[in-house]
């Protein structure tokens, strides 16, 4: 048996719970402050506007390209490279009185002056109204997901664990958003999908730990809740590391070679998975313990099951 990833002795994870929780709290608070002050760099999907993706036959001098974009149609354009120095992305906000077609034609005209063989690879235009609706829907989606999950866990496990799990999820979402705010990476629809996937993944982790906690509460009848939790985390640690590892490998592959359209999605996952792994250990279980989870709170499910197996009292 190759066991480099499993722990031989029960580790007192909860010993570090307080400092880690404080760190988490600081991270979440910091994220909230960042989101409130700097906000997110909303992508085209949410703000509306036009994006033109072009591929030049030779590397382009962006400054030279930018200096041309001074007409009223193109003045506030953001020009950047993606992938390679030959690939250029131009973003234009919605402008009063100017149609997106005219903007695109102008941009391509200037690009053709630099390189007659430029290829227009992608053009996207989103109306501001559509963007606003999407933002509302997206926020709602995250909220509904959290609520549904809370109900499911409360039903399958116990309300204290449900609260812990949802707190951990909210933590992961907040920290991920915080990093997006800090780096001002573009936040578009695929990133939102990434954030929701983080919710799913991080929950996966939390549930596995909880499942073991529930099992051990019933097994280790004499132990304190802290000890049960420590044993459970230790037992599931190798699995946590392996699964995180394989998923991270995949996400890194997506991040590196998935192309420009999938970049933000992979970045959100990369962040969320890293944060989600420790939050399922520290935030979720620690909060559940602080809320007073103990052996008795795990019992009802067991009694119910026995009751269900018994023959009915009524004829």
């Amino acid at each position: 048996m190759l066991e480099i990833l499993s722990l031989k002795r029960t580790v007192n994870f909860l010993k570090h719970a307080l400092p880690v929780s404080i760190m988490s709290a600081v991270l979440v608070l910091g994220s909230i402050v960042l989101l409130a002050t700097k906000g997110l760099n909303w992508g085209l999907d949410f703000t509306g506007g036009t994006v033109v993706e072009m591929s030049f036959s030779t590397p382009v001098d962006l400054n030279q390209f930018r200096s041309q974009l001074t007409t009223p149609e193109t003045s506030s354009a953001v020009v950047q490279n993606y992938g390679s120095s030959r690939d250029v992305l131009v973003r234009l906000p919605v402008k009063e009185g100017i149609s997106s077609d005219v903007q695109v034609v102008e941009i391509v005209k200037f690009a053709q002056q630099l390189d007659p063989n430029v290829v227009q690879k992608r053009v996207e235009f989103v109306g501001p109204q559509v963007g606003k609706e999407l933002a509302e829907q997206g926020g709602l989606a995250v909220l509904v997901a959290l609520i549904c999950i809370m109900i499911y866990i409360a039903f399958r496990f116990e309300w204290r664990l449900a609260t812990g799990a949802v707190a951990a999820l909210a933590h992961d979402v907040m920290v991920t958003l915080g990093v997006f705010s800090l780096t001002q990476m573009e936040f578009d629809l695929t990133v939102l999908a990434g954030v929701l996937t983080v919710v799913g993944y991080s929950l996966n982790d939390t549930i596995v730990v909880f499942d073991r906690v529930r099992e051990n509460f019933l097994k280790m009848r004499k132990s304190e809740p802290e000890e049960v939790v420590n044993v459970s985390i230790t037992q599931t640690m190798s699995r946590t590391i392996i699964t995180m590892g394989t998923t991270l490998v995949v996400v890194v592959a997506l991040f590196l070679s998935g192309g420009s359209m999938i970049h933000g999605f992979a970045a959100a996952l990369l962040l969320g998975i890293s944060v989600g792994t420790y939050s399922s250990v520290y935030v979720a279980t620690y909060l559940a313990i602080k809320l007073g989870v103990n052996r008795e709170s795990m019992m009802p499910a067991e009694i119910e099951k026995e009751g269900a197996d018994q023959p009915s009292m009524m004829p």
């Binding site: 596995v208 394989t246 998923t247 995949v250 998935g258 996952l269």
Partner: protein
């Protein structure tokens, strides 16, 4: 005996995986370059058309791989892209404008597979290139049109019933009808109420000002909007067909939006012009009693209005519409004997009756053809919607010489306009103008790049995961890897089986992510087995316990992820939906392969034997 699956369970596992593989197979065949021939109005694609096309291509030296006639459309597969272009030109030229000839990529699935329902996954626009439009219907305009029709109704009804009214006009709330006295108001209210139950009438008289306000009822308003959307969808669908695009998508989204996807289209300007154009025509009688000078000064008789003529000058027309473009069933551009462009028009039966009545009563009087067009003004309303510009022009005024029936011609257009008008009229008029609120164009080269990078990411990550599992869990790792591969094949199989599922770039990302997460189930089980062995259980017991104990963790964690995917699917649009679909399918198949699939193999290899050590 421990760890022995009964035969039926093994058969079930093999069967399910075999079905998954079977439906995944069509994806291996790739696509043929093809030319698609569809008949437009009046024509029909028949076996003789097929024979003619085949003969034609043979004479040009273009080898036909396969030629199929199905559901009134002909699909001719050729060897490569060059021949495809050539074939399209040749066919289009020979068949004339009664058929649309489009380039297409047809799945190269063998006939026998196809007949068993096998077909490859459909690729989204981001993977094969094309245009995506989200269009919004201007409901205000649809309602205004309906109100105008109601005004005309009220006028004729009141006149019929000989109830005198002072005037009818549309105001911000609805329609206002003015009367000179209270009695006529009361009788009008009684009469109109009995006639139209879709309007709500209320007395809004103020002192000596007798007025009746008619407002559309809630249900009627909803119905009007619904009809406007439905009709616009039908019209846009017709226009898309006229564009000759293969496999277009036209579907509604929400209460007032329409999604249009045109795979492979690169000329977005023309696509937009045709899709968004709301050109229509209306026939009005010229108000020949109106004084031209007075009209110029702004004094227009009630019930009439001044319109611009295309060639300059103005003309006073009666407001009442004799006939709208809705009744037009056919329109062809042609030339008259002086080779001036014209459009020959065919009407439906109802339109024919109306038109014949109107022209019969008005022989010797001038009738005008009003051309109405809505254009994107480039400006936006306060709420962010596109401001539409309404352009109305009289394109011809002609004296009615005789009673006209269902076929007649419109003159006074340029050649290009005649072509466009004929196309638009043929495809039906949009009941309300539409504006494009979202547009995405993906070049075909980017589509190919997206596929390549997605597959690249998949290969890299799969390689890493497979290698790790093999080293860390040895024989059991190998089993997990077999399960992982089967899982991937099954996702592809299920995606191909579901008719509505479309593979997008985020969908590929969903698949890749599934690879990373799918091993989780096996890791959980294997760690449990190791725990049991460490605790001193026998090998068979450890396997049994490992699978049994890990089950609830796997089920719970997958169900919660599934919930997230379901929510993503419900609220997401386009790309996000694509991701959610593959994630959901991935969760379902990975649960099956990781739990049932690996168990079947483990049982077959080790089940029921006396063994001391396990390669895990």
């Amino acid at each position: 005996m421990l760890n022995k699956y009964p035969m039926w369970k093994n058969i079930m596992v093999v069967l399910i995986i075999a079905i998954g593989c079977f439906y995944a197979v069509p994806n291996l065949f790739g696509e043929d370059h093809a030319v698609q021939v569809v008949a437009t109005r009046g024509a029909e694609v028949t076996a003789s058309t097929q024979a003619r096309v085949n003969e034609l291509l043979a004479s040009k030296g273009i080898a036909v791989k396969r030629s199929e006639l199905e559901k009134g459309q002909l699909l001719v597969r050729v060897q490569n892209a060059d021949q495809q272009l050539l074939a399209k030109e040749v066919i289009a030229e020979a068949l004339g404008d009664k058929f649309t000839v489009a380039l297409n990529l047809a799945p190269a699935t063998p006939k026998w597979l196809e007949s068993m329902g096998g077909s490859p996954m459909k690729l989204g626009l981001d993977l094969r290139g094309g245009v995506h439009f989200l269009m919004e219907v201007d409901m205000g305009e649809a309602i205004r049109k309906m109100e105008e029709a109601k005004v005309a109704d009220f006028r004729s009804q009141l006149r019929e019933e000989k109830i005198r009214y002072a005037g009818i006009r549309i105001n911000a709330q609805g329609i206002e009808i003015k009367f000179r006295d209270a009695e006529s108001l009361a009788s009008a209210e009684r009469f109109l109420k009995s006639r139209s139950n879709d309007m709500v009438f209320s007395d809004v008289s103020k002192g000596e000002d007798f007025a009746l306000q008619a407002v559309m009822s809630e249900t009627y308003l909803k119905q009007v909007k619904e009809e406007a959307l439905q009709q616009n969808i039908t019209t846009i669908r017709n226009r898309v067909n006229e564009l000759g695009v293969s496999e277009p998508v036209v579907q509604r989204q929400g209460a007032e939006r329409i999604i249009v996807e045109l795979p492979g289209v690169q000329d977005t300007a023309r696509a937009k012009e045709i899709l968004g154009a709301t050109a229509s025509i209306e026939f009005h009688m010229v108000d020949d009693k109106a004084d031209a000078n007075a009209a110029q000064a702004g004094r227009v008789p009630a019930g009439s209005e001044v319109y611009q003529r295309r060639e300059g000058g103005q003309v006073v027309l009666k407001k009442e519409v004799m006939l709208t473009g809705d009744h037009i069933t056919g329109a062809q551009p042609s030339f008259d004997q002086y080779s001036r462009p014209q459009v020959s028009i065919n009407l439906d039966a109802k339109g024919g009756t109306i038109f014949s009545n109107v022209t019969k009563d008005n022989i010797g009087k001038p009738m005008a053809t009003l051309f109405i067009e809505y254009k994107d003004s480039g400006e936006r309303n306060a709420d962010g919607s596109v401001k539409m510009l309404k352009i109305e022009e009289v394109i011809s005024v002609a004296t009615i010489q005789a009673r006209l029936g269902r076929n007649f011609v419109i003159t006074g257009l340029s050649h290009g306009e005649a072509q466009n008008l004929a196309l638009l009229l043929r495809a039906g008029a949009l009941i309300a103008p539409v504006s494009i609120v979202e547009e995405r164009t993906i070049g075909p080269s980017l589509g190919a790049e997206n596929i390549a990078s997605g597959i690249n990411a998949m290969l890299w990550s799969m390689g890493a995961v497979v290698l790790f599992m093999l080293i860390y869990y040895r024989a059991f790792g190998l089993i997990a890897n077999i399960a992982l591969t089967m899982n991937l094949v099954m996702i592809v199989g299920v995606m191909s089986m579901i008719p509505g599922a479309v593979l997008t770039l985020p969908g590929i990302a969903g698949m890749v992510l599934t690879i990373g997460m799918a091993v989780d189930g096996n890791v959980l089980i294997y760690e449990r087995i190791r725990d049991e062995i460490r605790a001193g259980r026998s090998v068979q017991q450890a396997i049994q316990e490992g699978y049994a104990n890990a089950f609830s963790s796997i089920a719970d964690s997958n169900i919660t992820t599934f919930i997230t995917a379901l929510i993503l699917f419900a609220v997401g649009s386009g790309a996000v939906k694509g991701f959610a679909v593959t994630l959901m399918i991935g969760i379902a198949t990975s649960m099956f392969t990781a739990i049932v699939g690996t168990r079947a193999i483990v049982n077959a290899v080790w089940g029921g034997k006396r063994i001391q050590t396990l390669s895990i």
